[in-house]
Assembly symmetry: C2
Homo-oligomer: 222 residues x 2
């Protein structure tokens, strides 16, 4: 898990883990930290392929070329491993806020640069995690908050600057605006099986977000 994560998520991830390896200096084989990421990557792949219900720890261990005991030395349960794997699937962006001179340029630049963590597999991982959320309210809260805030944190600075430039109508609710792209992208991921690739995002920006941002609410022209 990258160390730029918010405290709340770090605490949640800690709660998903077993006690750490033996401290250095006592002798003994050191724990290979790379294995954690490899195991989680394998877990995520299996999760996306066959879903949470059919996923077994045996399958994850085989995929990761690890012993099952290696998995259980790190995570106390299947649920904990899968939860952490899905939470870590999309790293936070450390992109600087672009300033291309136009809202369209900013949006396209930002989303191109942030392709890694709006990667479709993140959305699929979250979808695959949805079924266990009813039984785990803390995790549900973190997943929801994280998924909601990620896109919004990316989009709101751009929309705000667009408003200053006069590209976003002054009466526009930026919170609501920032929901449009993630909503449509997520819907595509879940239902349309259309890859959320740069051409699609560009189309959504051009045909949906930009015209909407520039228009006033409640046009009532009809």
């Amino acid at each position: 898990m990258p160390d730029t994560e918010v405290d709340k998520t770090s605490a949640a991830v800690d709660a998903l883990r077993r006690p750490a390896a033996a401290p250095a200096g006592r002798g003994g084989r050191p724990r290979d930290a790379h294995r954690d990421a490899q195991i989680m990557r394998a877990a995520l792949d299996v999760l996306i392929e066959i879903g949470y219900d059919r996923l077994t720890m045996d399958a994850v261990a085989t995929r990761a070329r690890a012993g099952k005991a290696t998995l259980y030395r790190r995570w106390p349960s299947k649920e904990a491993l899968i939860a952490e794997a899905a939470l870590c699937a999309g790293a936070d962006s450390t992109e600087a806020v672009p300033d291309t001179g136009s809202l369209r340029g900013d949006l396209i630049t930002m989303l191109a640069g942030a392709a890694e963590h709006i990667d479709e597999s993140h959305a699929r991982a979250v979808v695959a995690l949805l079924p266990i959320l009813p039984g785990n309210p803390e995790l549900a809260e973190i997943v929801r908050e994280r998924f909601l805030t990620e896109w919004q944190r990316l989009l709101q600075p751009l929309l705000a600057r667009g408003r200053e430039r006069g590209e976003v109508h002054p009466d526009r609710d930026l919170d609501l605006l920032a929901l449009v792209l993630p909503s449509m992208a997520f819907y595509q991921t879940v239902f349309a099986e259309r890859p959320v690739d740069p051409p699609l995002l560009t189309r959504l920006i051009d045909e949906i977000l930009l015209p909407l941002a520039a228009s006033p609410p409640h046009p009532r022209t009809g």
Copy 2:
């Protein structure tokens, strides 16, 4: 399952069922057809509360006040029962296409009249069903197609008429337009836990769909 369903879904539902009860006339107690709907209602409730992973046939039977054998006389497996329950959760609307004289009026009237099947529990049921879709491509296809087409079938006639009235810009792609509301409603359901109630829908219509419909794509005013 209402008999207005498309053939594909009916075939899919038939495939989810065990052979029917003994034909009438042979004597023996008749099967109570009301129990089917009651059992599925119970299944849906449990599904939404605790998710597919934790749902047990015992829990559904208890909730439905039925014997487990009663469930298995109708459905061959847990998966089949849950799949049919979720598919039937939202009945198709038989609403007439409203004509209020304005796109806004049409949208609000249609969505108010169709509240039953855009009920949030339908979306939650579909979400809860997502985990079994990777292992069941036919069902996945039906769920996706059905969920996609339902809102679109409702919205497209209204948008088309709006275009005739000059309320929808002639360059507007109606397929894409018809995706905006369902996308945002679904996102709210899954992540924001905000009830998709008439005030929210009205707000989405006023602040998102109507201004968007009236505006041309690619404004490039920035």
